[in-house]
């Protein structure tokens, strides 16, 4: 049963400074949602709140599946995941990093190996699986972060500035990965980027944020 996210009237402030103001939106279709806007517009904070990593000051986050509003518990948190802009890689091999989400879910053995091999192949890191993850390049680290997220087969994948600190070649690879996910249609992607051209290239649904507010209702790619 597909998972949908609805946010209503989200407010958030840090040290008295308002970061999110009355953000409401329904992510109720599949595909790729792109939040764009200048630095400091609140994109990352909104994404972190949507992915249940951070709490809002007020407002509601509702995950809905089969008409039922779900509790924000561990079971729900295991159906979604967020790839942070600075991917935290454990001091272990690429393979074991990719395996982490499965290990904590108790998924081991041939099933786990097959899934890990598949995602590493998908992001083009199969040849580096025995290498220590701390020794890979920034672009490869970002791809490994995506692989590690995909291995748990999330229903909603949040990507926070996935290409902010990578070179052009890796940006192209990551955009290719996102486009493939879009075509597969198995996962809803909600991502942020400050690059408007990239937003236009990737978005099925585009949201523009400024000064903590969602400025516009989403519009379809062909209207951009």
């Amino acid at each position: 049963m597909s998972l949908h996210l609805t946010t209503s009237n989200i407010f958030k402030s840090y040290n008295g400074e308002s970061v999110l103001k009355n953000c409401s939106f329904s992510f109720d279709q599949g595909g790729v949602y792109v939040l764009t806007g200048p630095n400091g517009s609140g994109k990352s904070t909104f994404l972190r709140i949507c992915s249940l990593i951070e709490c809002q000051d007020s407002g509601q986050i509702h995950y809905v599946s089969g008409g039922q509003v779900l509790d924000n518990d561990l079971a729900l948190k295991r159906r979604i995941t967020l790839v942070l802009p600075k991917v935290g890689l454990f001091n272990m091999s690429v393979f074991r990093n990719a395996a982490y989400g499965l290990t904590i879910r108790g998924i081991k053995g041939p099933v786990a190996i097959r899934r890990i091999d598949k995602v590493l192949d998908f992001v083009g890191l199969s040849h580096k699986k025995v290498q220590n993850a701390r020794t890979v390049s920034s672009g490869e680290a970002q791809r490994l972060g995506i692989a590690r997220a995909l291995v748990i087969e999330p229903e909603i994948l949040f990507l926070d500035e996935p290409t902010a600190s990578v070179d052009q070649k890796n940006t192209g690879i990551i955009e290719g990965i996102i486009n493939t996910m879009k075509q597969d249609g198995k996962v809803t992607v909600i991502m942020t980027t400050h690059d408007r051209d990239q937003a236009a290239r990737l978005a099925d649904h585009l949201l523009v944020m400024k000064d903590g507010e969602i400025l516009s209702a989403p519009f379809e790619k062909e209207k951009i």
């Binding site: 561990l74 935290g88 001091n91 989400g101």
Partner: protein, 235 residues
């Protein structure tokens, strides 16, 4: 000079022939220090982890106390344990004074702050992003803590090895609480002190060489652990 060389030569002969008494002393040393290290790790690591993972009032104060206790003078610890275990002390009824158990207790007290403080430092030094990463991937709070501790494993192992080095070389505390009884509580360091007093340098030298060899092995292991933990980063 010749007597020193002669002493070394006789010491090497002793090592090569390794009689039962010498072997017993070495094994007791390892048993006492190993036991102390085990206790210190089982108690110090959870405390270090707790202080490194959770924020609570007076946490900084406890860390400062631990850091201070890393330099505890062994004789003071020996005296304190002696007073606790002596016949008139609060734990005198246990009749542990002048036993290997008393020596293990004394060395545990010395090793505990080292394991706890270095573990804390290693765990607190783990990049907070890794904790968040574990959360984003669906880890429970316990799994997050375990991920952080695992990430600090090389630092923790350094602490354990450093504590082992300290207790293996320690003499003051175990001399006071163990009594240096031949065949029962006599270990390498106390034997060296005793044999030097008696002018029996070859046995003292032989044990000194063995002790140094063990210390070399510990430091080599420590170096290798640290080297393994230091990974080149391109980012």
């Amino acid at each position: 000079m010749s007597s020193i060389l002669e002493g070394f030569s006789q010491a090497l002969t002793l090592i090569l022939h390794l009689d039962a008494e010498l072997l017993g002393i070495i094994l007791l040393s390892i048993k006492v220090s190993g036991g102390a290290l085990l206790i210190a790790t089982l108690t110090g690591l959870p405390l270090g982890a707790l202080l490194g993972l959770k924020k609570f009032p007076l946490g900084g104060f406890f860390v400062t106390i631990l850091n201070t206790f890393m330099g505890l003078p062994p004789v003071v610890v020996g005296l304190f344990i002696y007073l606790l275990l002596s016949r008139s002390g609060p734990l005198g009824f246990m009749s542990l004074l002048y036993t290997p158990v008393a020596m293990i207790v004394a060395q545990s007290v010395l090793a505990f702050p080292i394991v706890a403080a270095i573990s804390h430092s290693a765990i607190a030094g783990v990049d907070p992003i890794l904790r968040q990463t574990a959360v984003t991937l669906g880890a429970t709070p316990v799994q997050v803590s375990l991920a952080v501790i695992r990430e600090a494993r090389y630092g923790i192992m350094s602490g354990v090895m450093a504590a082992f080095g300290r207790v293996m070389a320690e003499v003051g505390a175990i001399l006071i609480v163990g009594g240096n009884i031949a065949g029962y509580t006599r270990v390498m360091t106390t034997t060296i002190a005793l044999e030097t007093d008696k002018g029996n340098f070859e046995l003292a030298l032989a044990l000194g060489i063995i002790l140094l060899s063990i210390s070399l092995m510990i430091n080599t292991a420590l170096y290798m652990i640290q080297r393994r933990g230091m990974v080149r980063t391109n980012r």
